[in-house]
Amino acid sequence: MTVMLRVDSLTKIYGNGSTEAGGVRGASFGAGAGEFLTLLGPSGCGKTTSLRCIAGLEEPSGGEIEINGRVVYSGARHIRVPTAARDVAMVFQSYAIWPHMTVYENVAFPLEARRLGNAEIRRRVESVLAMVGLSGMADRPAPFLSGGQQQRVALARAVIKDAPVLLLDEPLSNLDAKLREEMRAELRDLQRRIGTTAVYVTHDQEEALALSDRIVIMHAGSVVETGTPRQLYFAPRTSFAARFIGQADLWPCRIAGRGEDVITVEAPWGVVHSRCFPDDLGAALSLMIRPEHVEIAPATAPDGGASLTGTVARVTFSGRLAEYEIEVGGALIRAQGTTARLWEPGSKVRLRLPPDRCVIVNGGGEA
């Protein structure tokens, strides 16, 4: 896979200092051709700023950006390629549909800027409008569009440029939930069909997991962790990533013993084995257990090695699933199970913690 985007030590310091939210502090990541890369993080983490630096809408304070084999920004080498000359197209959070133009004029604009012939423009606009499901709406004035339609126009306008890298800034956040899921599928489908590289910014981890080939988790202007959705879900290496993606209980822990591919750790409520841990174990470690990975068995079931006993303290029933809080050694461990078997509060149970799902991550357990 050829590298389509390379962001190296990207820094963006705002005005009076670096502490202001939204800045970027030495972020590095990249994307291959046709890859769907998501920048994920809480608001103010610098993900939108990074995207805007790639587009050339913000000027970084330092670092280097390479798009399609061409360095478009380099602080050290004083390179700055203006936005219009970069191989990117972008979809904005507000859609930014020009209200004084029709749908057709909006979508045709990037081709017009490239000075293509009218016939060619018409042909391509029609095909792109068909692709986003807006055939027949070409002559509609932009202010007379619904939110979903505006979203499609924005997408069409970006896609028609045929740029190797498509930048998307929270494009689905203004849509209602149902439409959002629909558009999410369409977006992924469209990106696969045209084979462009997509860089997608969102704070919605579910969206990120569903759409992405790879996710870059950002926090306070830095990249915390990069990985495929599965890697980040099953084997995060940092407590931040563990907490940000999916549900997780994190417990401070101490290494009690180390085998070849297994580590024995001591958590506040007992001792467990872990087969999933980062290579670069730091000083402060946490044990991550996702509630859906805790298996609950009757207290009478055989021990089987990796198990603890406890009492069901609380049950939240939601039909298909039930959530439990189970008291073990003075602590409450969350667990989740199907309702094939429902445990009542006060029941004595045995908890199985498979070593593959007891994940040791770097960083404290603090929120």
Partner: protein
């Protein structure tokens, strides 16, 4: 998360650079600021500097030798000074409050309720803007002067009063006339905020069970508060320098404000030559006061932007049902028009038909004549003045619009280095009285006569007006520019468009309604502006307002009235065009 607009377009301002070109690219980034900055400095800094220089010259002329602080001592040491300051503040605050109260009510009724015929009302509301304040004051004197004032006569007769109920020659009278004259400006500043107010705020309040009154008091006013305050500060600034109304109605009432004091020092002081030194010293106070207000204003508008209520989503503002209050609202609007337009214009028409000033009465009607109107067409000077005024209005309006657009584009959108200085410079002339701009320009162009021979021509007046109206232009343009979502332009940038194409295809079309509004406001004001034109009057640049003034001061108010009626009709026509233009635009702003 909110998109950061820092740098947005500016980030790509410099062309791609190789290592050796870095210094060059940073120079290039400064070019637009320096170019526009030079123009602004020329228009703004030079007059202010000359004025301050005058204030420390013993002889009061900037080219005189010597230095002194004596003018400051004599101005501020004058025992009458506190009273002067107080009268100025009273007049300024009073007329701003009147204008704001009426302007708020009208803006709300027109933009947010189901008041009938709102389109027509929207045009009519700007009519007082079309009547030169000098004529407005004369007309009101005819209606409300204590003895022959028409309204006073009617009321005295109807109720058997012994004394007239109103006296236009009083502080309240001044505030009333000036307040009415400011209403259109107040409305123009407030209306967009009302128009762009997100209806979901109102809807949320209504679903919370709030009635109309609670809605206005708890939701509408607080959300619009920064806009209201900034309108108040703008009006206050203008009211502190305004001349026509206190100049005409103030003297009989023994009311002197800063602007009329300056006029006195320039024109009527017994020393034989204008006391520019004291004018400068007084104006220095203006400058400090108004710059303080200007910075407050700047902060308020920023705050108003933070309250920005338009989102990317399209919405249609909802009209509130007036219900049972509808007849009362209609009556209030009619009463306003009677007061602000019908009554004074009727008084003017009456006066224009009389051979000399008469009280409005049946017996006087037999004196009626069209001589004054006939004179408009035969008098060569009237024709020339109209032609000059038209040329000046068009040039001034165009220059201000272009300059304001460039300044706001550079400062607000491109955020070029020094952009805030540009913005401040464009706003600073609000602090210079028109009389002083006139005085300063006389010097500039006398000195530059060899290079720029515009002294005594209409172009020197154009330069003065451009300086005077730049603050309104840049204020309006920056406001609208801030309202435009930056992503609209960024989307064009990521579409691969160059800067010029973006300006041409995206920014200008989106700014068009605002640009048209500024153009027409400036044109209308340039047609009626008096004080600086009086100072710059020369051999070949008589304009309609100076003609009016000459007629009035030369004892021919009836001819002045005829010219005024003609001027008012012309301006009505311009306003009609404006309305047509901005209606085209409202659909997307």
């Amino acid at each position: 998360m909110a998109p950061r607009s820092d740098g947005s377009l500016a980030a790509g301002l410099a062309p791609s650079a190789s290592p050796g070109r870095r210094r060059w690219s940073s120079v290039v980034r400064w070019v637009p600021s320096l170019a526009i900055g030079a123009v602004l400095a020329y228009l703004v800094v030079v007059p202010i500097a000359l004025m301050l220089l005058s204030s420390v010259r013993p002889g009061g002329f900037p080219l005189d030798p010597g230095l002194t602080l004596g003018h400051y001592a004599s101005v501020y040491g004058d025992p009458g000074f506190p009273a002067l300051l107080w009268a100025t503040v009273e007049f300024g605050v009073g007329s701003s409050v009147v204008a704001l109260a009426i302007g708020l009510g009208l803006a709300w009724l027109i933009e947010r309720t189901d008041l009938p015929a709102r389109g027509v009302v929207r045009v009519l509301i700007l009519l007082p803007m079309a009547t030169p304040p000098l004529l407005m004051a004369i007309a009101w004197a005819m209606l409300l002067s204590p003895r022959v004032g028409f309204i006073n006569q009617i009321l005295t007769d109807a109720f058997g009063l012994r004394t007239a109920p109103f006296n236009i020659y009083s502080m309240l009278g001044l505030i009333f006339v000036q307040g009415l004259a400011f209403v259109p400006t107040a409305y123009l500043i407030l209306a967009p905020s009302f128009r762009n107010f997100d209806p979901s705020f109102e809807e949320a309040a209504m679903t919370s069970g709030a009635g109309t009154w609670r809605l206005i008091r708890r939701i509408l006013l607080p959300v619009l508060w920064p806009s209201i305050l900034s309108a108040a500060v703008f009006l206050l600034m203008v009211s502190l320098v305004v001349f026509d109304v206190p100049g005409t109605l103030g003297t009989p009432a023994h009311i002197t404000v800063l602007s009329t004091r300056i006029y006195y020092l320039v024109s009527d002081s017994p020393g034989g030559i204008p006391l520019y030194g004291r004018v400068g010293a007084l104006a220095a106070l203006f400058l400090v006061l108004l710059l303080a207000l200007a910075s407050a204003y700047h902060r308020l508008t920023l705050q108003a932007q933070r309250y920005r209520t338009v989102t990317g989503k399209a919405f249609r503002p909802r009209a509130m049902r007036l219900g049972r209050a509808r007849p009362a609202a209609i009556l209030a609007v009619i009463a306003y028009f009677l007061l602000s337009v019908a009554a004074p214009v009727a008084a003017l028409v009456w006066m224009s038909l009389m051979p000399y000033q008469t009280r409005i009465s049946w017996p006087a009607l037999r004196l009626a004549t069209f001589d004054n109107y006939r004179d408009l067409f035969v008098n060569g000077r009237v024709v020339a003045s109209v032609a000059h005024s038209a040329a000046i209005a068009v040039s001034t309006a165009t220059a201000v619009t272009v300059l304001a657009l460039l300044v706001s584009w550079l400062a607000v959108r491109l955020k070029v280095p020094g952009g805030r200085v540009l913005d401040a410079l464009a706003f600073a002339p609000v602090a210079i009285p028109g009389v002083m701009i006139g005085v300063a320009l006389v010097y500039v162009y006398l000195t530059l006569n060899g290079i720029v021979p515009i002294y005594g021509t209409i172009w020197i007046i154009v330069v003065a007006y451009v300086t005077q109206y730049l603050p309104f232009g840049s204020r309006t343009m920056s406001g609208v520019m801030l309202q435009l979502h930056p992503e609209l332009e960024e989307a064009a940038l990521t579409s691969g468009a160059g800067r010029v194409r973006i300006l041409w295809r995206i920014t200008l079309p989106l700014m068009w309604p605002a640009a048209a509004a500024v153009w027409i406001w400036v044109a209308a004001h340039a047609l009626r502006e008096l004080s600086s034109a009086l100072m710059l009057q020369g051999r070949e640049n008589s304009v309609v307002p100076t003609l009016l003034w000459d007629y009035w001061a030369g004892g021919e108010p009836t001819r002045a009235a005829a010219v005024g009626v003609g001027l008012t009709l012309t301006l009505v026509l311009i306003l009609g065009l404006w309305q047509a233009a901005s209606r085209r635009g409202t659909k997307f702003v």
